[in-house]
Symmetry: C2
Amino acid sequence: MANVSAYATQNKNADLKPFDIERREVKDDDVQIEIEYCGVCHSDIHVARNDWGNTEYPVVPGHEIVGRVTEVGSNVAHFNEGDLVGVGCMVDSCQTCASCKEDLEQYCENGAVMTYNGPDEHLGGHTFGGYSERMVVDKEFVLNIPENIDTKAAAPLLCAGITTWSPLSHWNVGKGDKVGIIGLGGLGHMGVKFADALGAEVVMITRSPEKADDAKRLGADDVLISTDDEQIKEHTGSFDFLLNTIPVGHDMNPYVKLLRRDGTMVLVGAIELLDKLHGGGLIMGRKRIAGSVIGGIKETQEMLDFCGEHNITCDVEMIDIQNINEAYERVVNADVKYRFVIDMKSLKS
Amino acid sequence: MANVSAYATQNKNADLKPFDIERREVKDDDVQIEIEYCGVCHSDIHVARNDWGNTEYPVVPGHEIVGRVTEVGSNVAHFNEGDLVGVGCMVDSCQTCASCKEDLEQYCENGAVMTYNGPDEHLGGHTFGGYSERMVVDKEFVLNIPENIDTKAAAPLLCAGITTWSPLSHWNVGKGDKVGIIGLGGLGHMGVKFADALGAEVVMITRSPEKADDAKRLGADDVLISTDDEQIKEHTGSFDFLLNTIPVGHDMNPYVKLLRRDGTMVLVGAIELLDKLHGGGLIMGRKRIAGSVIGGIKETQEMLDFCGEHNITCDVEMIDIQNINEAYERVVNADVKYRFVIDMKSLKS
């Protein structure tokens, strides 16, 4: 069977380089996609560099994938050749557990299969992601991308988009709510756009005063500099909802103070140990801290449809695949507004 | 004006001793109560000993108060002389803020007045609690105690009871839920009774194997010894709701693991810094940690009515006021099953 061109790394100290992976045959339930664009998520770097200690090499990263359908299996009714489609962080799940039956495949009790570095149920070994010319995916994990939005800027919706959309949707954020988005990066900039489009009063909460103008351009009504005690005091007890996108361990106590009674802060970034939390901060206002990871397939389609209706995409900087290693360095240094997207045509050059 | 006999301490190093406090006149909205029983809450000790650094001396502790109405003001329609009534942790609130209007006086945005050591709006100075022969309280903060339950064992319902009832009620715990009560003390033993009476499957979670029999007697279906890794593993991801009554800082991570997807753990005890929490524990299962403090007056009455219907009271050990200092030592050493109640007749002996 012919191989597929991809970009991969063989070990945690090596750069990403051209690589051939085995081609997966298109079975009855499968959709084959020619990849046009793939976003660069910080997780790509964590896995490529084995930061989480569970990487299997070679790694082909990439889970913000947009492309065109080139072939479908005999059981595939909802996709046709030429359709503009997307693939996000998952490519399989058991489809039988309580979470899957509730359209929450991201919480599959038997473990959803991640788009890369997951246990491949079809070829054995592990899955390969979207830094690749094409991929074959089970139809249940393929999304329709609205044709009216900028295709290349749609790619990061599949991870950065759904990760911020899901908690805003789950907690019914909307008109009348004062919402704080903590941290202005790949996730945070989508949080601002979505919360604004949902009709909430949106405050960007950041340590960096120089981000204020951009936050307002993205849809924030106000900016709160979290290192300014006076500003924190002014907003104390006023937020209905906080979306906390900080990707590392941090002190949550100042943010808990910002919540009003019965307010909720949802963590989507910090898969790490957080600093000591004061129990009184939650107890004295019946406040809540929750977590949320990506979103289910049904919810992801709802998010994409919403983006089509409201013309929402990500702010992206385009790169060729040959510049991926430099892009990784810039992501690590938070030097991108707000997501790199690889033009996969460059793979053929 | 005549004084009222009470038991108080003048400073944090002194024992509680007989003391006279000024008598509050019965105004139009007031109810005068002859106190029959008063529970001993750990907070009494914290305040008497200035553990929280905000004590004003002399302190008359006590906020689990049951007695008979002896006089009512001209605006008091719902209470009559001879009624069996209770007073809990609060004796005043603004009655005008959003929280008060939602019957959540415990979250009064202008600060509810605590039953002792709070700013007294009527006499100036600070409020005096229930280790006393009588008290005068605004009618809005007086509760009806069902006549059919054991009066002396009803006193701790006013704090230990409502503190555990409120989160179980707010989060709609009931039939079909697997509920864990963490910690078997004054709060935990009421958590077990309420969760059982609400129809939940109840698991007592404790470090102490010797508490297993008593937990089952109180209504627990099962007991999970939290220091036993095998037992923790067996119950991982299975709880809909955890009521965490641990009164000090601790490691919440093992308990978060016990929650199922979308499960909630509510803290009611630890008004302290907690150990470092792992963000991934919440994120990977959309889990929630919340806080809760006592309950509103309406909710407290609902709890008392429920206790009347289900004949629920606290497990108490009766003491005379003269033994209060010894009782304090035993509370500090967790040597009481599960609440001391002072027979206030002893004040006159």
